[in-house]
Amino acid sequence: MSTLVKPLTPSAQGPAPAGPWRAWLAGPGVRYLLLLLPALMVVAFVVYPTVATVIHSFYRLDPVGRVTGFAGVANYRMLFAEPVFLQVLRNTAIYAVASVVLSIALAFGMAMLLSGKVFVNRLLLLGIFSPTVMPTIAAANIWLYFLAPQLGLFTHLLGDFGIKNANLLGEPNTALGALVALFVWKYAPYFTLFLMAGLQAIPQNVRDALRTEDPHGWHSLRKVVLPIMAPMLAFVITLAVIYAMETVDPVYVMTQGGPANGTNLVMFYLYQLGFSYYSWGPAAALSGLLLGGLSSLSALSLIALERRSFHWA
């Protein structure tokens, strides 16, 4: 799209004469009207469901999801009494911490390596960023194929190193590790893009000066780069936490939460409770918890972003 402003002299068609219709269009009434439908849509699909989720979590629900009576905190109690749920919480915590730390650390390293390089080989970019541009489901299919016991290539590679019959997805710890690896593979390059943009905020002359005065870079990393990058890092970290919390696609494709619920993460558990067990009461309680958690994370990421470039006061 052109950024040049077109000459503003009246053209052949000219501005239309200001009739009563046009006057009404410019008036305040039409503005409310235009805002009404979109706002109502948000109320219908966000505000109302938010309120309903919280309210439903305190009611008894039948297998078809209808309210049958007040339950107090019974749904929450049922949820926490379920040993599987406690395991799900533990899995999700381990998965989220490992995924976020590894992917951000790697992204930071890659951003430092890539930034300032004018001539980066296209093949190199294609290799690094190919996981970023494909859907997670495709990535999960690729890894499933890669990790399958006996016929997967990775299993053969391990076999060459003396590890026979490797079965990474068949053991809870390694299966959760495989999910973490998939997250890092998929998202580290994506986060690199954000962090590279963050690095642009460091003026060129500062960077040059740092290179001569501090060739190993550790001092300047701590004293100059990190403070400048802090808002962007905060944003990317919250983004990573949200993505990790919402992970469901690879679980669905690669493990279905198994073995022995070892890779059952919170979103997949919600899906199971609701759409496989029809256990709507505990599902509503879990929704309530997720609502609080995810919404505060999104709010945090917005605040982090706002400090950088976003103004809405």
């Binding site: 399958a148 016991p149 006996q150 053991e171 279905q256 198994g258 067990y277 029809y278």
Partner: protein, 420 residues
Amino acid sequence: MRSTRMLIGSALGAVSLLLSSGAVAAQAKAPVKLSFDFPVGVTGPLTRDMSNLVNTFNKSHPGIQVTPVYTGSYQQTVARVETDIQSGTPPTLAVLTSTSVYDLLRLGAIAPLDSVAKQGDYYPALLQPEVKGHYYGIPFQRSTVVLYYNKTLFKKAGLNPNVPPKNWTQLVSDAQALQKIGVNGIEIPTDGTCYWEFAPYAIEAGQNLANSNGTQVYFNSSAAKTALNFWMDLSHKYRVEPGGILPWATVPSDFEAGTVGMIVHSSGSLAAILKTAKFQVGEAFMPADHSKYLTDLGGGDFFLFKAASSAQKKAALTFIKWMTSPAQAATWSKETGYVAVTPKAYQEPGMKKFVAAHPQFLVPAEQLQYAQPELATYQLAQVQDTLDSAIQSVLDGQAKVGPALNSAQAQANAILAPYR
């Protein structure tokens, strides 16, 4: 007075005649439409086979138009159907695991099929379960858990290729012989819904996993503990099975590739295995614990949904009867390896010739006399997951047999308490 009545009567008669002829005309114009959910992944030859079968039906029944919808695995299909029930748009018909019956009843979704069940000549073993005095499922693609073995590898290992292991002891010694020639002795799938492959072992050890009205499970019976200990021994003590969790989806691939001598799988996988395997495939009964062969049933039944119109229900009955008639049952069995649901199918001339050439296809039918019902309860997915995770946690070395099964039993008791 009389004449008036007659007049009205004849007028009514004329009207009803008109209406009915109109209905007949409408029927001739627009066939009754049936939607039919069928559990098969979007890949695979079964999709094509099913489409052919339905097309044949539609051509020979101009008043009925059946549209198959392919809905993935059994678990996915039942989840989808339950979703559609909740949204008020169930299919007319679906093939679902026979064990879904309790949850479908809980949702008030299915109509009884007593008339079809009683006039068909289905194997009695396949007509279970009868719930609250009615038959709800009509057997269509029923399977048993069987043992496949690679006859070529058996020969190579110095075993008689025509004598599969008859009991658990022989199973171990045969597997050990296979292990010596550099292949895995045996593989039993243990991911996902592994309760199914587990059940034959528990049944043989003396106790099925559930009662017959869907309200009680026996996950921590001594039989179940014996069975799970045997599974553990296969990989840990005898070292004839790779450790960890083996996926349902890769076990047949390993078998076809010749890297394992014996596998436990569904009889419904036979056709797929025969197509790829480059060696002589043996199919056998599950080896017995002590003396008695036993196994459990699996596979899918036809279910008819209440919400269908009466015209649809009538047409659906026609379709079910046709699909489970001897000719079609024989076709489906030949294409898949599932049990033909009626003994008459094995009398069809084509089928006789076929099983003479491929005797493996007779094994599941012969095994029916030893077959017990599959684990079926209310809140089935949740109850099954409880046992599946317990088994997997033991196999992965995170838990001991006793405590894991006891805790699975306790969880299942809690889930089933409201239904007792």
